[in-house]
Symmetry: C2
Subunit: 309 residues, 2 copies
Amino acid sequence: MSLIVVGSMAFDAIETPFGKSDKIVGGAATYISWSASNFTNPIYQISVVGGDFPGEELDMLSKRGVNLEGVQIKKDKKSFFWSGRYHMDMNSRDTLETQLNVLGEFEPVVPDSCQDADILLLGNLSPAVQLSVVAQMKKRPKLVVLDTMNFWMETALDDLEKVLSKIDVLLVNDSEARQLSGQYSLVRAAKDILKMGPRYLIIKKGEHGALLFHKDHVFFAPALPLEDVFDPTGAGDTFAGGFAGYLDSTKDFSFEGMKSAIIVGSAIASFCVEKFGTTRLKELNRNDIDERIQEFVDLVNFEISLVSK
Amino acid sequence: MSLIVVGSMAFDAIETPFGKSDKIVGGAATYISWSASNFTNPIYQISVVGGDFPGEELDMLSKRGVNLEGVQIKKDKKSFFWSGRYHMDMNSRDTLETQLNVLGEFEPVVPDSCQDADILLLGNLSPAVQLSVVAQMKKRPKLVVLDTMNFWMETALDDLEKVLSKIDVLLVNDSEARQLSGQYSLVRAAKDILKMGPRYLIIKKGEHGALLFHKDHVFFAPALPLEDVFDPTGAGDTFAGGFAGYLDSTKDFSFEGMKSAIIVGSAIASFCVEKFGTTRLKELNRNDIDERIQEFVDLVNFEISLVSK
């Protein structure tokens, strides 16, 4: 089994109502691989960093079973940097600063060693970069999962539509689903988006959980009610990593299999928000994850007798 | 088995992005009884209307098993009137006009015939009126359920705190839970509110479902994803009516029993929003309700193997 993860590796500086971080390691691919490596290896990471990216962070990923052959290190340049501030509701944030640096000229190269991977997870990057990875695959992976955001809908819709026609699972949040479809109702939005290519659509609603749409089926995964959300940065990527990593371990790409994978992704994402950056993800073991999954089971479990008998 | 319902009966005029209603029959007690009467009877309704309230609406309720002995008819006066406009997200609305009329001087009288009721459901009314009903009960009902709103937190907090100390189940929405507790996190809000009296707290989140808190337990009931929400008026009351009506039929007032009742309430509320006012509730039969309950079961049902084995 194997999983390719394409995405940013970065520095983040984060302000929340609970505190302020230094410049810490982040980036979609970082969160995805920390999360996915709880379930599967090897993970083939494709990304780009500058000479300023800490070697020990790369070493920690290697020890988790992440193959970094596809991570380009531009020694004389700086890594992607993002800083942002969250509001009390944690569903909205202001970007304070973005320095694209090495990410601005990122040309991913898919190593030969991962051409047989079963799952390709395309993290949030420009659709042109995502398309270039898809084009480099000599054999289509069994499952292609894509994350994107409103910025690409506004600036690169043509390329986004092209890549949407080549994937199996799309991950977006509720406002992005509305923007992409032009529909307010998420049920209507899902119908329209499923016509654009993906067979499965996952709409993430933050503290309100996530919806999975497939043909005429819908599944709802709750978010765990938490006392505090300390730092939501990376929660969506952690969800994606848990989802894809778990699927790579089960190889059950059916609707039922996707349902389980979404619960697993939600469980790991609920850990991510408890501390700044990847801190909490680095502490987790499988027992922690199982206990959290059990909390999700208990959260929605009910018995009911029908009323008409 | 029997249930007392205390609440308004009214005229509403409603505007939504989908259309505009005439002056139609509404009011909390109207929705509650239409919903609860799917599961239990008799229902003892305690309310007040003016001479302008349509007799045929009262007749229809009687035929559903609703005892109207406690409904005062003030022949020379006018019924409570509310008009409002919903926005696209349907979670927010503007009140355009409120005419209290007979509701402004409402002094509920609990008929002797219902003194043995198992459940007392206090719909959203002034806490002083709710307290007066509780005081008139010669024997405390097995379960007292209370609905309230932000208006009473702002204008009658002392009385509200008094009545909260006398009830078993409180129903509020998420912003009301935050206002009542002064806590942003709903988990923290629930802990504080449960110290005020109620053993069970239900936080309604509209299209995002509902949470049930009891001691250290939490249960999440999703809302059904709908293509269109046509008119959300009365959905909360319909939920409360289904919840209390179902509980009156099962007499299972445990945490497990409450979970089932919340699913039933959510199922009926999902019908209510499909048409203006009580229109859809009047068309329902038990098979419709069972099919909808099954959709809720399917929506959240998943199988998962723990990952650490």
